[in-house]
Point group: C2
C-alpha cells in the first residue's frame, strides 16, 4: 500500500445520511446504495486522486466510449460485520487480481492495490453503519471501471473512471431454480472475453435468458462452442454432484474464475468431499439424470453464494433432480460453511477474511 | 411515418452555433459533433417524445445498467450534399432494420421508423449547414441506444435512451493496411452477438488489435471458432479477390450484415464482376497468396467505404499482395462507384439514396 495515495484521499461527506430512512429488512439485491461512493479518474497515462464523495450521478459526453464500444468491467464482493462490530472483507485480493485481468483483456489500464483495496477500506470505514450483523447479512461491493473519453472512434479509450458503490444486502433464500442447457446460444467465444468480468458478456446473455424464462426456466446453463460441455449457470459457476463426487469445469478463457467457486472447492476438500475439476459433458449429465446417479446441481457466485437447481431441460426434455434432505445436500452444507466463515461465525483456517 | 410523433417533436436550438469556428478541413473522423442531437427516452414500456436539443452531456446514475451489463447498440450511417444543396441519406432503411435486430438480440426495445428515420431527417434539416458538398465529404450519423435504469441487477434494463449524434466527415485516403489473421483470439461466439452492432463486440476486439498493432499490423482479420475460415477485417466486412473472382463470407450470427458490404456486392454484380458469397478458408488464401492468384483483399464499412489491404500475416509468416495499377483494382473501382453514387455524382439505379 502506498500511504501517499491514501493520505491524499479527498473526502467529502453528505450533509445528512439517508440511513435512518433505509429499509434494511426489505432491500432488494443491488437496488439501493449507501451515502457515499469512491471515484478515481485515469487520464494522461495515470490514475489520479482517490475521492470519497456523496453518491451522485455520472455525467459523460454522449460520445463517451463506454456507450459505443463497451469498455466496462466490474467486480462483485462482500463485507460482513462480526458481533463485536469488526468489519471483514472476503478475499479482496482475488477480486483485485481478477479486476486487473479483466482490464488487460479489455485494453483498459490496470489499477494499483492501494487505490482498489486501500480505497475500498476507506470507503467502508466511512460507511460502517451500513454493514449489518447477522448470518447472511452483508454489504455488497461493486467496483467498476468505464471508458470515458469522447469520440466515436473504434479504438481503446485513453480516459477512464474507476468507481466503487456499496449496497446493503440481506440474507435471502432464492429457492431452487430450473435451468435450460444452451444448445444454440452462447455466452462467450473461444479466444473471447468470457473469463473477464466484462459488461459485454452480460448483454449477450440477456436475450437467451429471456427466452428460457418465457419457456418456464430461471436461467441458462452455458455450454462450449459445440454445445457438448457444460460451463456456467446464468451468471454463476456451476457444480454437478454424481453419486458423491462433485464436478466443476476448469476455468478457461470462456469461464469466469469465480471466487465463490474456488472457495467452495477448497472448503469442500477440507470437508472431505471428492471434488473433480474437469470438463463435464452434457451426455454425462443426461445419463446420470436417467440412471439416478445425478444427485445435485448448484450455481456458485458472490450474490447468492450457492443457488440450488431442482431440474433442467435439454432439447425440450425436462429432467427433475431427486428430493434430498437438507442435511445430505452438498450445496447446503457448503453454503452454510462458507457463509458462517464469511460472517466470522466459524473459524477461518484459510485466512480468507481481511479485517478493515 | 406517424405524423403525430413528428408534430410533437420538441426542438430547442442552441443560442449560438459553433459552425463558424469548426475546422472542416482538418476534422478527424468521429471526434467532433454538430450543434444539436436527437434524444428519446423509453420508459414504462413505451418510447416518449422526440427531442432535438443542444449537444450536451448525458447524466446517469452510477449503477445505470449500461455501465455494468453492456446493453448498448449503435449504427453508423452517412448523409451527403448534392451540388444543388439537396441532402441525401444512404439506405437508412437498412440501418433502421439492423438497429432493431441488434436491439432484439440485446434484449432492448425496438424503435419505430418514425422516431429513427423521421427523427433523423428532422435533425439533419436543423443541421443542414454542417453537411458539406464534394466527393467523399459527408455527415457521419451515429444513432445509439443505451440502458439507463439504475440498479446493479444482472437482468435487462426497463429504461433506455435513444440518441443520434452527427459528426462532419472528410474524404480521406487511409492508405493500404496490413492485417493479421486471428489464430487464437475471437471477436464473436457461435450463437453470440457478433451479428449485432453491439458495444460489447468492440470491447472484445481492442486487446487483440492492440497486440496486432504492436507486432506492426493495423487490424485483425477475424476467423471462425476453429480459426479456419475468414470472417471480418477489424470493424469491417472483408472481400478477397482470387484471379478475377471476388469472395466474401455469407453473413451469420457471427458476422455483421454490413450495408457497405451488401451494396458493394450489388454494385460489383452490376459492373459485371464475378462475386461469390461463400465461406473463405484460411488455407485457400494462403495457397492463393503463394501461387500468385490472390490479387486483392479489402475491408468494407461505412467509415472508410473501402480499405485496401496490402498484405497479411498468419502464424508469423507475412504475405505481401502484388502491386496493381489503380484502374485494375476492384477495390478502387467499387469505392469510386459507390462514393459517386452516394454523393449524387452518378446515377442511382438501385434507389439507395433517400432525399431529406
Amino acid at each position: 500500500m502506498d500511504s501517499n495515495i491514501l493520505n491524499n484521499l479527498k473526502l467529502t461527506k453528505v450533509a445528512a445520511s439517508k440511513i435512518d430512512t433505509f429499509d434494511f429488512e426489505n432491500v432488494k439485491f443491488g437496488e439501493k446504495f449507501t451515502d457515499h461512493m469512491l471515484v478515481c479518474e485515469y487520464k494522461n497515462g495515470e490514475w489520479g486522486t482517490l475521492e470519497i464523495k456523496p453518491y451522485a450521478p455520472i455525467t459523460l459526453d454522449p460520445s463517451a466510449r463506454v456507450f459505443h464500444y463497451g469498455q466496462a468491467i466490474f467486480e462483485g464482493m462482500k463485507a460482513y460485520k462480526e458481533e463485536n462490530n469488526d468489519i471483514w472483507m472476503f478475499r479482496p485480493d482475488q477480486n483485485f487480481e481478477r479486476f486487473n485481468k479483466s482490464a488487460i483483456r479489455l485494453a483498459m489500464p490496470a489499477i494499483d492495490e492501494t487505490r482498489f483495496i486501500g480505497g475500498l477500506k476507506e470507503l467502508i470505514k466511512v460507511e460502517k453503519e451500513w454493514v449489518r450483523k447477522g448470518l447472511g447479512n452483508s454489504l455488497y461491493i461493486r467496483p467498476f471501471m468505464i471508458a470515458t473519453e469522447s469520440g466515436v472512434i473504434a479504438s481503446p479509450s485513453n480516459e477512464f473512471l474507476f468507481c466503487i458503490l456499496l449496497s446493503p444486502a440481506k440474507s435471502y433464500y432464492a429457492g431452487k431454480i430450473k435451468v435450460q442447457i444452451a444448445d444454440y446460444y452462447s455466452r462467450a467465444a473461444n479466444g473471447g472475453i468470457g473469463a473477464a468480468k466484462a459488461a459485454g458478456n452480460y448483454s449477450a446473455q440477456f436475450y437467451p435468458t429471456k427466452l428460457a424464462q418465457e419457456a418456464g426456466f430461471n436461467q441458462v446453463i452455458w455450454t462450449d462452442s459445440n454445445h457438448t460441455h457444460l460451463e456456467e449457470a446464468g451468471t454463476m459457476n456451476v457444480f454437478f454432484r454424481i453419486n458423491d463426487t462433485l464436478f466443476t469445469a476448469p476455468t478457461s478463457d470462456r469461464i469466469l474464475d469465480g471466487v465463490t467457486r474456488k472457495s467452495l472447492i477448497q472448503l469442500g476438500e477440507s470437508l472431505g468431499y471428492d471434488i473433480k475439476i474437469e470438463s463435464v459433458q452434457v451426455d454425462t449429465i443426461l445419463n446420470a439424470a436417467k440412471n439416478g446417479t445425478l444427485k445435485e446441481i448448484f450455481g456458485a457466485g458472490t450474490a447468492a453464494v450457492v443457488n440450488q437447481i431442482e431440474g433442467f431441460s435439454y432439447k425440450d426434455q425436462y429432467y427433475q433432480l431427486p428430493e434430498m434432505a437438507d442435511e445430505e445436500s452438498y450445496a447446503l452444507q457448503l453454503k452454510n460453511a462458507l457463509t458462517k466463515l464469511q460472517n466470522k461465525l466459524a473459524d477461518d483456517p484459510f485466512n480468507w477474511t481481511v479485517k478493515i
